[in-house]
């Protein structure tokens, strides 16, 4: 894999890296996945590459670790070769970077950095995590995501941006359950002095397009397109179905153009009413963000009736906890050899692996330095802990415990950095 990967990296065009929240999760020791393969460390600038998170038509998304701040990031790697095959590929990427730079909202993906590799190739970074996948969520969970979608959408619209491609696949979830609208590749920024939100073009996903686009109207209200797509999204995440289907795009557009659809009975009267408001044929009568906010389904408190659907396990190592994947690479970087490793290590480590404390990433560095780190860049990382104010103090205790346990028990000396860092998973950084 490493050889092939290096080859890929030669084509590296653009990667994107965005703010990422990480949370430590309770891990059963049997679930700690042992990785027999040796992974080669690859540093790009100050970022250490981790495992693959996902793949799209443009290229790959991988996890990365910022070696200065120790923040987990995700990077979107765009290959020029692949981009050329997508209509408007390169132009859309440029536009997306430009748009993302000026946006800042808790429910919109944040661009952290754009890197260009030597042969004029670009990298720019992303958030980790997962699309809201194509399955049905319990009502309370769908409600939570939908409200965040509306918050993010209201922000985009207030900034004069029409997203044009709202769909579950473009909504990312962080491990702490917040939703981020992503992929502004086909979004349109309205002219700041445009009187209204009239748009002329659309390149969004067919199943999420409103009738005015399916019928090929020349101009249409941009914001109302997003409302419709958000409506199809809500329909999809609450029922796992689509309001409109078709064997091919022509059939699909024909069905959307007619505007006939049914809402499953199980949705109940409130949700059905909201869906009908958002999937209103006439854009002028279709709900506005304000109407949605004031709708009783949105205002209602939905009690958790069934267990929430968890974020799917990561693709490559099937880790349901989404632990950091850069650890083996870190080990490689710092000359850790597997001879010391021992399967039994993980037993007896329960009290540490089970810890849910937020910890100060700076301490990871300390541990590493003890192991003979040679990379000075890691040492400059600032200790950071957000999310839990008590993080620091709780953590010093865990650290002390670990110190004592590792010194008192020589068999644990070879404890891999992997398990250490899994314990010390970083918190969200400013």
């Amino acid at each position: 894999m490493s050889a092939r990967e290096l080859q890929h990296l030669d084509y590296l065009n653009e990667n994107e890296l965005m703010e990422m929240d990480t949370f430590i999760h309770r891990i059963d020791s049997t679930e700690v996945i042992y990785q027999p393969r040796r992974k080669r460390a690859k540093l790009i600038g100050k970022y250490l590459m981790g495992d693959l998170l996902g793949e799209g038509s443009y290229g790959k998304v991988k996890e990365m670790l910022d070696s200065e701040t120790l923040c987990r990031r995700a990077v979107k790697i765009l290959k020029k070769k692949k981009l050329r095959r997508i209509p408007n590929g390169e132009a859309n990427v440029k536009k997306e970077i430009q748009l993302l730079r000026r946006l800042q909202h808790k429910n919109v993906i944040q661009l952290v950095d754009v890197l260009y590799n030597e042969e004029k190739q670009k990298i720019y970074p992303h958030q980790m995590l997962d699309s809201v996948s194509e399955k049905r969520f319990p009502v309370f969970q769908a409600h939570g995501y939908f409200c965040q979608l509306i918050d993010g959408l209201e922000y985009l619209h207030s900034q004069g941006i029409v997203h044009k491609d709202i769909k579950p696949g473009n909504l990312l979830l962080t491990t702490d359950g917040s939703l981020k609208i992503s992929d502004l590749g086909v979004a349109e920024a309205l002219h700041p002095f445009a009187e209204d939100d009239t748009c002329r073009t659309s390149q969004g996903s067919p199943a999420f397009q409103p009738p005015e686009i399916a019928n090929g109207l020349d101009t249409f209200s941009g914001f109302k397109v997003d409302i419709w797509s958000a409506g199809v999204t809500l329909y999809n995440i609450t029922t796992s179905l689509y309001p409109f289907e078709g064997d091919n795009i022509y059939k699909l557009f024909e069905n959307i153009g007619k505007g006939d659809y049914t809402i499953p009975e199980e949705c109940g009267p409130l949700l059905s009413d909201l869906l009908r408001g958002m999937l209103e044929y006439d854009p002028a009568k279709r709900f506005s963000i304000q109407n949605i906010r004031q709708h009783n389904w949105v205002r209602k408190k939905h009690p958790p009736s069934e267990p929430p659907v968890p974020i799917p396990a990561s693709a490559e190592c099937r880790d349901p906890w989404r632990s950091m994947t850069v650890v083996p690479y870190l080990e490689d970087l710092h000359g850790y050899t597997e001879d010391d490793d021992d399967d039994e290590l993980y037993d007896g480590e329960d009290e540490i692996i089970y810890t849910q404390d937020f910890t100060v990433p700076g301490q990871v560095v300390e541990e590493e330095l003890h192991q003979g780190s040679t990379d000075p860049s890691l040492a400059v990382a600032k200790p950071v802990c957000v999310n839990g104010t008590e993080g620091g103090s709780l953590n010093s205790k865990t650290k002390a415990e670990r110190r004592s346990s590792s010194s008192s028990n020589p068999s644990r000396k070879g404890l891999s950095t992997a398990s250490k860092i899994r314990k010390l998973s970083t918190c969200k950084q400013q």
Partner: protein
């Protein structure tokens, strides 16, 4: 007295005891110490009912009873009213109790919001709290929780007392002034449609006061209010307010002066408002006149404006665009 399993008091009892002891505290008589202890204890047990304790989840029915008692006895409001006589920890407990009760929902109803709508005085007691340093920050926390709810935000925004904010954000105590600014900003940005309507209706009064903030001697006030002004004007919901603002020559003059402020940060924020005047395709004649009169000076100025921001692509693009716009301005052929 048994060490364990002390029977829990009912919500009605707690409310009653708390009310009595609060009254003693307010009177400042001899028994105040004992009353203060009682108040603290009651607040702790209320908090336990609302938030649950270590192993117990809050019990919905008890919570409902407590809320009902708090409304009926008027205690929720008198706690806020007499916050300054409660001790330090107690003040924090009151905040937590208040915010929890406020967030309570029954289906689509928010009973506390409805209760406050018919007892609006509580909002103004909270607002007045900014004038009493001992309770200012606690009141700020509760007030911000209130204005998350549109009906309550509307009451505050449309009241005469809203204008007090312009004083509060300039107070000499830094933490209170910043807290007040946070609330002020929430009020002006959280409910976009409501705010756009309000600003449209009260344009003159609000912007007359707002201008004073931009002239403030206090660096923080000046910088924050300038930044907020930029955000408000560039929010599409406030489109008509924006067009109105950028049609007035005195606003342009103010921004041009701020562009030359001694602080680069203020200059930078001013730039983001200034650009709106220049980018406007339908500039009013007075605006064009000012820009024309200063055409060469402005171009020179912008060419040398904050050149150290070379890595900020967007800023540089905007600067180039503005220079081009100003250069292309034509004198009316007379």
């Amino acid at each position: 007295m048994p060490l364990f399993g002390k029977p829990h008091k009912s919500p009605a009892d707690i409310v009653k005891t708390l009310k009595e002891n609060l009254a003693i505290l307010v009177k400042h008589d001899k028994k105040a110490d004992k009353a203060s202890d009682e108040v603290s204890k009651c607040l702790v047990s209320m908090k336990e009912i609302l938030y649950g304790s270590n192993d117990k989840e809050p019990h919905t029915e008890t919570v409902a009873q407590l809320a009902q008692e708090l409304y009926n006895s008027g205690l929720l409001i008198s706690l806020v009213e007499n916050l300054q006589v409660i001790d330090f920890e107690g003040k924090k407990d009151v905040c937590q109790i208040f915010n929890n009760i406020l967030r309570r929902q029954i289906g689509t109803r928010c009973p506390t919001v409805e209760y406050f709508c018919s007892h609006q005085e509580v909002l103004f007691i909270l607002l007045k709290g900014y004038e009493t340093p001992q309770v200012a920050l606690n009141c700020g926390i509760m007030l911000r929780e209130c204005i998350r709810h549109e009906p309550l935000a509307k009451i505050v925004l449309h009241s005469d007392d809203f204008h007090n904010f312009f004083g509060y954000v300039e107070m000499s105590t830094f933490d209170i002034a910043s807290d007040a600014f946070a609330t002020f900003k929430d009020l002006l940005t959280r409910h976009k449609v409501l705010v756009a309507e309000y600003l449209g209706q009260n344009y003159d009064a609000v912007f007359a006061d707002y201008e004073k903030l931009l002239h403030s001697d206090n660096y923080v006030t000046k910088r924050q209010s300038l930044k907020l002004l930029g955000e408000l004007l560039l929010d599409r919901n406030n489109f008509t307010v924006m067009t109105r603002y950028i049609s007035k020559p005195e606003n342009l003059k103010l921004m041009m002066n701020l562009l030359r402020d001694k602080s680069p940060n203020i200059q930078f924020e001013a730039f983001h408002v200034f650009k709106v005047f220049v980018a406007n395709p339908n500039k009013t004649q007075p605006i064009v006149d000012i820009l024309l009169k200063n055409q060469t000076k402005l171009i020179d100025f912008l060419n040398n404006f904050q050149n150290d921001r070379s890595d900020d692509e967007q800023f540089n693009d905007e600067k180039t665009y503005l220079i081009k716009q100003i250069r292309d301005l034509k004198k009316p052929t007379s």
